[in-house]
Subunit: 232 residues, 2 copies
DNA sequence: ACCGTGACTTGATAAATATCAAGTATCGGG
DNA sequence: CCCGATACTTGATATTTATCAAGTCACGGT
């Protein structure tokens, strides 16, 4: 592992609060690897061998049931994924696939558990990471149970616009097919939802979104910090 | 706090793995309180002042949006709730209401965070608690996104039957109205779903459920450990 | 014992969402 | 530059779910 890469890694929220010797211990068994798009990193049901952290690129987490499949979340740097399975030494509940070509840090799961037992700072960082993940998925559950598909799309657009600087013009970060799965609807429904949003002056040109009447969109969306704000 | 009550508390998964002095420290600021049914313990949006653990009784966690409301989960002993908000010192994302009269342990949230920083065993226990909660919500999200309402009910029955000893006969632990919200459907839909299950030899007499043809129900439900098994 | 409230059910209907099919557009590889 | 695969859109339709309304029933409080 190169020195500058090591620098980058110990700045991750996960490692920033642990003792130097814990970081040493963890990084001894760790490695960083680059993966091209579409690589499958984990499949749900497998044993949790590694904790993964995204250094760059993005990862799609998905789950399947019978012949159905859905996207649970899309993760980017500097976040981790499938930490819960590692902490509990259980099976992955989700599959992880590389979306944008990614650099991934992999920590052997047994080392992680051992480091937790020995370093309260690290264990706390893991707990905080888990708490964040918990809140994100709890918010997503509220999103699913309390909103219609049109409302979920409208809120996603409002949120994405803020995230990209509030220019009221941005490009979708991934395929509409994946966005549809992420929002919990069939691709055809997403297509029609975009068509409906034309009434609210939302213009869609392939992957580019232009929000001409911000107020109208926000009124439709009714964003709620307790569902949409990840840092509340 | 009585000695036997203290005994009971330090056996909670949360405290079982921490150092004696950490338990002392935590229990110094803690108290146990009995609450009658329907008491509101927290409201979503409030600051997280306490970590709650259920010693007996049960708690309903719910969330609202506009004029809608849903039940996120129902918690019993020896589980905790709203730990994530405490760990991160943020706002509660869910409201908690007493369902069955309950004895609740309350730990001041600042003490919890302080204890985590000082005791790796306790921080690890919190991380494990969070990991369990995370997996439960993630499973619930899969349940919502990948199944129809009839399938959710069928699986809930299968699961509940196993939980209560597999006698193929049990009593609903709470009102159908709440069950409907828990399963993500309108009460009328639940009513009709029960009616549909008559075809599968599921008999409903007010709150008593009798499953006459277990195989038929299980075939309809298609239970999946990665969605339904909390300990996988 | 009576009353009133609220849970539960059932019917009728509307709205939301999924599915199937067909056509167009787009994009990467040869 | 062309081809084939796949994403995306749109229409028609089916299924799922919600809503509104009315009636029954059970229960707690007076």
């Amino acid at each position: 592992m190169r020195a500058e890469e090591r620098e980058e890694i110990v700045r991750l929220p996960l490692l920033a609060a642990c003792r130097p010797e814990t970081a040493d211990f963890l990084l001894r068994g760790a490695f960083v690897q680059r993966f091209p798009a579409h690589t499958n990193l984990t499949r749900e049901g497998e044993k949790a061998d590694f904790l993964y952290a995204v250094l760059s690129g993005s990862i799609e987490l998905s789950a399947a049931y019978l012949d159905r499949e859905t996207t649970i979340a899309v993760i980017g740097a500097p976040h981790t994924f499938i930490v819960a399975a590692v902490v509990l030494d259980r099976l992955y509940l989700q599959s992880a696939r590389v979306m944008e070509p990614a650099r991934i840090l992999m920590l052997p799961s047994e080392s992680v558990r051992q480091a937790m037992r020995g370093d309260a700072g690290f264990a706390t960082a893991i707990a905080e990471e888990m708490a964040n993940s918990y809140r994100n998925v709890a918010q997503e559950l509220k999103n699913q149970k309390l909103r219609t598909s049109l409302e979920r799309l409208a809120n996603w657009l409002v949120h994405r616009d803020k995230e990209t600087g509030g220019g009221h013009r941005f490009v979708l970060p991934y395929e509409k097919k994946i966005l549809a799965a992420r929002l919990g609807m069939a691709p055809e429904v997403l297509s029609r939802a975009f068509a409906t949003l034309a009434q609210y002056d939302v213009h869609v040109d392939s992957a580019t979104i232009i929000v001409k009447d911000w107020k109208a969109l926000e009124k439709l969306a009714h964003p709620d910090p307790l569902i949409d704000d990840e840092t509340i």
